[in-house]
């Protein structure tokens, strides 16, 4: 029943054979490939700012120097573009060899549909002991099989603070609970400065941040066996908190997405922020005047006995099952974690993309970067927060992986729920009931 009848049959058989051969030789892969004809590997990623691109080129050059018959071509995709592009690629069989930096729910989605090559061999090549504890658990979609692994970590809902404004308002310690948070932003708001840049728009940032707030209230979106559990007292508490924060956010927050929220803090207009370590880079280039007064903490929870919950979208690396030259591909995927190239890649967005290997985080070459040095406390806070982070695809260590997380976020059902209750004042019981029904529908299609 598919449009690619002829193409798919041949490809499947070929890749299965390749997979068997590769796994047979997995245990003792020599560092060099046997001399063969010229092969080309394709590498896709949506993250390709000029600095990141330079880092990728270093990695490609180093790999090609070690393997003369291999050529690696980097092809950039984008955060909105990768969905249709990969759909077209999978359908036609013309898949790239390695894809990096896609969020983890995309990976579990493709894995559940049998499109990916198990990543176990590559993890073996890298050295499983080098990873942070449990860093790969989110990718263990089926027990014993890894769909991919993270190429970096991001702690996306860190609370950013302006220490100068805190001092002015007489706030001595960073807020830990919601009550402290509300008091702090109320005290700091004024004179053209707003308390916080929380998103209330119909977009993925609102959904993702609010899922964090639900957890910070002690609740969850799904139960550990993936029953919808969003209609709960904890969610109502979260909505109340989010509603209370609204008056401390700028008027345009009703349409805020990532870029707006970031700039609101970086430009100095907000006393607190909620973002990844990207804040440090942007403050350094766009508003160095506040650079000495910026620090971060874990975002407050409802009460001190509820543990903080960090949102990490676990930018991933995976290999499509239908990729050719599987042996070389796995070698290349492992090579991406080679310290010289990997550190340069991390330095392209210091603090924003954090290492998944604890060995790298401790490596002095990694720490020898102006931003990482200057903000070393903040960076290590973020690194450990991210390593212990979660997202809708994997809400806690007890939860099963959720392959439908991506669709739930993209359908905007959660951000719409926030808008309807917080902005439009609709009846919470009714909206939560409808939201539950809609999420259940998405889970079953």
């Amino acid at each position: 029943m598919s449009l690619k009848n002829v193409l798919s049959a041949g490809v499947d058989r070929r890749s299965v054979l390749a997979g068997m051969a590769a796994s047979g030789a997995a245990a003792a892969i020599p560092r060099r490939l046997r001399a063969q004809e010229q092969i080309t590997l394709r590498w896709w990623s949506p993250q390709s700012s000029p600095e990141q691109l330079a880092a990728y080129e270093t990695q490609i050059r180093n790999f090609e120097a070690q393997h003369e018959n291999v050529r690696v071509v980097f092809e950039r995709t984008s955060d909105e573009g990768y969905a249709p592009q990969l759909a077209a690629a999978f359908a036609s069989g013309e898949v790239p060899n390695v894809v990096t930096h896609l969020p983890s729910f995309a990976v579990s989605n493709y894995w559940r549909n049998g499109l990916l090559e198990p990543f176990n061999d590559v993890i073996e090549m890298i050295g499983p002991e080098k990873f942070y504890d449990g860093a790969n658990q989110i990718y263990e979609v089926d027990p014993g099989q890894y769909a991919g692994t993270g190429i970096g970590n991001s702690a996306a809902n860190m609370m950013w603070l302006r220490t100068d404004l805190m001092e002015q308002a007489g706030i001595e310690a960073a807020p830990r609970t919601w009550d402290e948070m509300l008091a702090a932003v109320a005290a700091m708001q004024g004179g053209g400065i707003f308390g916080a840049p929380l998103p209330y728009g119909r977009n993925s940032m609102t959904s993702l941040i609010f899922i964090g707030v639900i957890h910070q209230a002690g609740g969850q979106v799904f139960s550990p066996d993936l029953q919808v559990a969003i209609d709960s007292d904890e969610t109502r508490d979260a909505l109340e908190f989010y509603r209370a924060m609204r008056e401390f956010c700028p008027p345009g927050a009703t349409n805020y997405s990532w870029g707006d929220s970031l700039t609101a803090f970086v430009s100095g207009a907000c006393a607190t922020g909620i973002y990844t370590g990207r804040v440090l880079i942007n403050v350094a280039t766009q508003n160095p005047g506040i650079a000495d007064h910026v620090t971060c903490e874990l975002y407050p929870t409802k009460s001190a006995d509820i543990a903080p919950w960090t949102f990490n979208d676990f930018p991933s690396v995976f290999i499509p099952r239908a990729a050719d030259n599987m042996e070389a591909t796995k070698q290349f995927a492992a090579f991406l974690f080679d310290p010289e190239g990997y550190i340069q890649q991390l330095h392209a967005a210091p603090g924003h993309v954090l290492p998944v290997l604890s060995t790298i985080a401790d490596d002095p070459a990694y720490q020898a970067n102006p931003i990482i040095e200057r903000y070393s406390d903040e960076v290590s806070k973020m690194a450990s927060a991210a390593a212990g982070g979660f997202n809708l695809g994997w809400e806690s260590t007890a939860h099963q992986p959720n392959a439908k997380a991506g669709e739930i976020i993209n359908s905007n059902v959660i951000s719409e729920m926030v808008q309807r209750i917080v902005l439009n004042d609709e009846n919470a019981d009714q909206v939560l009931g409808e939201t539950t029904a809609r999420i259940e529908e998405i889970m079953t299609t």
Binding site: F90, R202, P251, E407, N412
Partner: protein, 299 residues
């Protein structure tokens, strides 16, 4: 037709063949590159297709039943109509108005024309990003200018609440696309013979009645086509609304193209998206037929 010598039946038929030959390449290109995907889309709409793999199972008219019984399609249709009518009216009014102004002897006229066409030149993605920046409540120039001029004293939330969001979207859409009307109308204005205006002036007609009685009838044929083309294009517009408001607040600016995209790539439900598209196409077809019949009757 006044050519008496040429109008022999045999020649007519030979010319008819030449005529068919001239349109043939167009038809070939179409059949190859549009008809196949079009048929594929209709074919997809009776399946339930998982987008990343394009595999699925036959579900008959289930997708269409969902289309009729659930409010999503109809709400989006209503929103699309509001958006299309709103932005199209502004595009035509401003388009014709600016074309008339730029037709006169203006200082540095060529420069003025180039500048007026700028919104159409710039890519939609960039235009939307710039407008979002300008509309921003903290550091945006629009709010800043309004406050400097004393018109408001607090920044306005342009895109996050209704009806501002729909108004904002309509205005940006009008700004972006009205130059298309300007180009086409300006080209037509060039070929209106002077003597028509002279005759009207001699008859004592003022500028306004000269516009109604001479210019407008001459523009009619071009305007009919422009309205049709722009209406289709505005109806299908995706990038602008998606990037400006994402369909929000809630779903108040979610037009049909946004619904189709969400179904196809966010919910990974290509079959349902194809069904919505077919529905969208039928709606546009009905409007198009009504429009063409009415304008043909008047001419």
């Amino acid at each position: 037709m006044s050519s008496t010598v040429i109008a022999a039946p045999l020649l007519e038929r030979r010319y008819a063949r030449l005529g068919a030959l001239l349109i043939a390449p167009t038809i070939v290109v179409f059949s190859l590159v549009i008809v196949y995907p079009l048929l594929a889309a209709i074919y997809l709409s009776v399946f339930s297709i998982y987008t990343p793999t394009l595999e699925g199972e036959f579900v008959g008219i289930d997708n269409y039943i969902q289309l009729f019984t659930e409010p999503a399609f109809w709400q989006s249709l209503w929103t699309t109509l509001i958006w299309t009518v709103g932005t199209l009216s502004l595009q035509i009014v401003f388009g014709v108005g600016l074309a008339l102004l730029l037709h006169q002897n203006l200082w540095f006229r060529s420069l003025a024309r180039s500048l007026v066409l700028f919104p159409y030149f710039v890519s939609t993605v960039v235009a939307v990003l710039v407008w979002r920046w300008l509309f921003n409540d903290l550091y945006g120039a629009v709010n800043h200018g309004l406050m400097q001029l004393g018109i408001t004293d607090m920044p306005v939330d342009w895109l996050g609440s209704m009806p501002n969001a729909m108004i904002g979207v309509i205005l940006v859409g009008a700004w972006k696309y009205f130059p298309f009307v300007v180009i086409a109308v300006l080209a037509r204005l060039q070929t209106i013979p002077d003597h028509l205006y002279e005759a009207a002036k001699i008859d004592g007609a003022g500028p306004i009645s000269r516009f109604w009685d001479v210019t407008l009838p001459q523009l009619r044929s071009v305007l009919v086509v422009i309205i049709l083309l722009r209406a289709i294009w505005d109806f299908k517009e995706f990038d602008l609304i998606f990037l400006l408001t994402g369909g929000g607040p809630v779903t108040s600016t979610q037009t049909l193209p946004l619904l189709v995209y969400q179904e196809a790539f966010a919910l990974n439900n290509m079959g349902q998206a194809a069904a919505y598209s077919v529905g969208m196409m039928l709606v546009m077809l009905v409007f198009m037929l009504i429009y063409i019949r009415r304008t043909r009757r008047e001419s």
